[in-house]
Symmetry: C2
Subunit: 401 residues, 2 copies
């Protein structure tokens, strides 16, 4: 029997306890021994809840208990999570976490510490909720040079964009609906501004290339400027608009970007709708593989956390290697990022647009008056910005994937 | 440095050598040491090819060389692969294989032998080509009770069905085209009769439930009876037809089936087209996850084989546990399998169909005369067969997923 402690009895924490209880038999079989929750750390008490007898308010109790081999950190945020996790690893306990901020910021350091102490620091739930993506990147896609990772990494914004697409609703309406359904928070910036997706693509890219990608270096745009009109153009072109986190290897180095992008209807990510997430990985030998599932939610996230705990039980006394080292990976500057762009501009500027962007095809969308759209050839962001600044009547632009 | 031997220098075998050469740097980093091919076993010689100096014709040379720690078996078929693999494990060498026949038939036994000898027997490439599915099932989906596995497991037939759907071509035409393109073999039975998909769903089900599922026990239908007319009905109902391998847990036990099935346009497998494969796994905590990619081909398959080799290098001296035991898993009898059915019948039998199947909605497809279609309520295969036998004018039926 292995004793574990859970830090934080919120949504995911209570999910972890529930999964361990409900699936006890299967989990015991897969781990090789039973897994018992001995402590739950929370500031609150839960009188009447059976969990109450396991509640402790002092982390030191957990740290000092030699019976505790594995700690589950599901508090979220950098502090005190960072301090708690570091201390756990230092005293030789393995950690499983769902905390993307923590992993994006301190992942390399905590992995190095785990390696040094011959324990494990696993974080399957930090990206894609229940979707297995961290372990496959670490252990399955090991024969390939990774050429590209592109994902729908945030369920809230994917739900909102799906609603805008299918119901023709505007941004404010779908945000309110998402908030009412509990998919979006009252302060939705982390989701709608792309910050959440940014941390996740930073984690995936670090794991794929074995160096530290600082999420602050990734140019990040959210979905707040996406309108019903954009979707009308997308429909006219038989495309969709998705908030994508992407990183790709090119001659000049590694590019990374988070932004809403147009994707063609035959792209594997096109039909990933509602709160679902999906991550597409391109390897130089295996081609495209995609991982799809619920990117959030109590039980899917808890399932991923518990799968890490099972792995840690199976690897007691051995460190599971990753290639993520602390050296900083310098991304190619945003202005050198190459893409095609979808552009909207006011009627009457078509000739100027042609003079600037070459032989473009003008596109009109049903129900949209006074303006037109077109798609550029591939060019760098810098080139595009330069040309754009000369196009009077420019309205908006969206990256094309 | 780790020395390996490759058994069979066919498509996959040469792909393995190519991947190990092309991606040597990345693979060395991920495995922790360099991986070198010391021998290639093949009956043929390859004069002028650099591989020639590594060619051996006598397997004993490989078995007797203590430098060889890992053997890659990519010959296919049961013999001599089975004998070779067994001998390798017996003398303490790990094995990585792409051989689905071997794994479906002898997987449990070879895993037990590997465990006993403290080496590894891995077979990521045996299902889904380059798609990581075996390792995720073994190591990621460990917190869940698996409720269902449903997959498009054969690229040849998926290519053919996609062509029938999009080009309105008939079965014989698309088979010939698939053969011309090298997607289908001259003797295409293994693919078109569903035998290949059957072995793959047997492997996945064995791994998910930890017992031996004998593929002979799985009711298997191929796509040879699927016609253009079936696709016209599918279109009328906004559905697709896919050859699916499926197993699911129900109150009465475990059901498994391979057959062409109708699936709705919002099903995650609906948009998996051409030679792509995808496997949908439903867990009781994590919900639906799907794994998508190229299900065959030289480099994708080789990539999966090499990822196993990397894992074996990282786990030298430790056996990677699976729960697949040799005890036989008794599947629920086919006649008790519950499904809805799509039925085609001759005009004039509508009243009888209603008397037998209740309040059904009659469906007519564009360009199809003299007959109609309908979808039944969920019922067992046995019940369906009984009712069907009473419906004069019955033409065909397809399972609904």
């Amino acid at each position: 029997m292995v004793n574990i402690a859970v830090l934080g009895y919120g949504t995911v924490g209570s999910g972890v306890v529930e999964v361990l209880t409900t699936n006890r038999e299967t989990i015991t079989k897969r781990a090789g021994e039973a897994i018992d929750v001995k402590y739950v750390l929370d500031l609150r008490d839960f009188p009447g809840d059976p969990i109450q007898e396991k509640i402790v308010h002092d982390y030191q109790v957990i740290l000092d208990d030699p019976e505790i081999k594995i700690i589950v950190e599901v508090m979220g945020g950098i502090e005190p999570a960072y301090t708690f996790v570091k201390k756990a690893l230092q005293v030789g306990k393995s950690v499983s976490t769902s905390n993307k901020e923590l992993v994006a910021k301190h992942g390399a350091e905590l992995l190095a510490l785990a390696n040094q102490k011959n324990v494990n620091f696993l974080f399957e739930a930090s990206v894609g909720g229940g979707i297995p993506i961290i372990r496959p990147l670490n252990q399955s896609l090991t024969a390939d040079e990774i050429d590209e990772i592109t994902g729908i990494l945030n369920g809230t914004t994917n739900y909102m964009l799906t609603k805008m697409d299918t119901a023709g609703a505007d941004y404010d309406t779908v945000l309110k609906e998402a908030q009412d359904r509990g998919y979006a928070e009252r302060h939705p910036e982390a989701d709608v501004e792309g910050y959440d997706a940014c941390r996740k693509i930073a984690i995936l890219t670090s794991l794929a290339y074995g160096m530290q990608v600082d999420y602050e270096d990734i140019h990040t745009e959210g979905i707040t400027h996406i309108t019903e009109t954009d979707f009308k153009y997308a429909k006219a072109m038989n495309m969709g608009i998705k908030l994508l986190g992407t990183s790709r290897r090119e001659e000049g180095g590694l590019f990374a970007l988070v932004a809403p992008m147009m994707i063609a209807h035959d792209h594997p990510l096109y039909s990933v709708n509602d709160v679902f997430n999906a991550i597409l990985v391109k390897g130089n030998a295996l081609g495209d593989v995609m991982f799809y599932g619920k990117g959030a939610g109590k039980l899917p996230t808890a399932s991923a956390v518990v799968s890490d705990v099972v792995d840690e039980v199976k690897h007691m006394g051995t460190h599971i290697m990753t290639i993520w080292q602390p050296q900083k990976l310098h991304l190619v500057e945003y202005t050198l990022y190459k893409s095609r762009f979808f552009v909207r501009a006011k009627n009457g500027t078509e000739d100027k647009a042609r003079a600037l962007f070459g032989d473009i095809a003008i596109c009109h969308a049903e129900g949209v008056d006074g303006e037109y759209g077109f798609v550029t050839e591939p060019m760098t962001v810098g080139d595009f910005e330069e040309k754009k600044s000369q196009l009077d009547g420019f309205i908006a632009r969206i990256f094309m994937n």
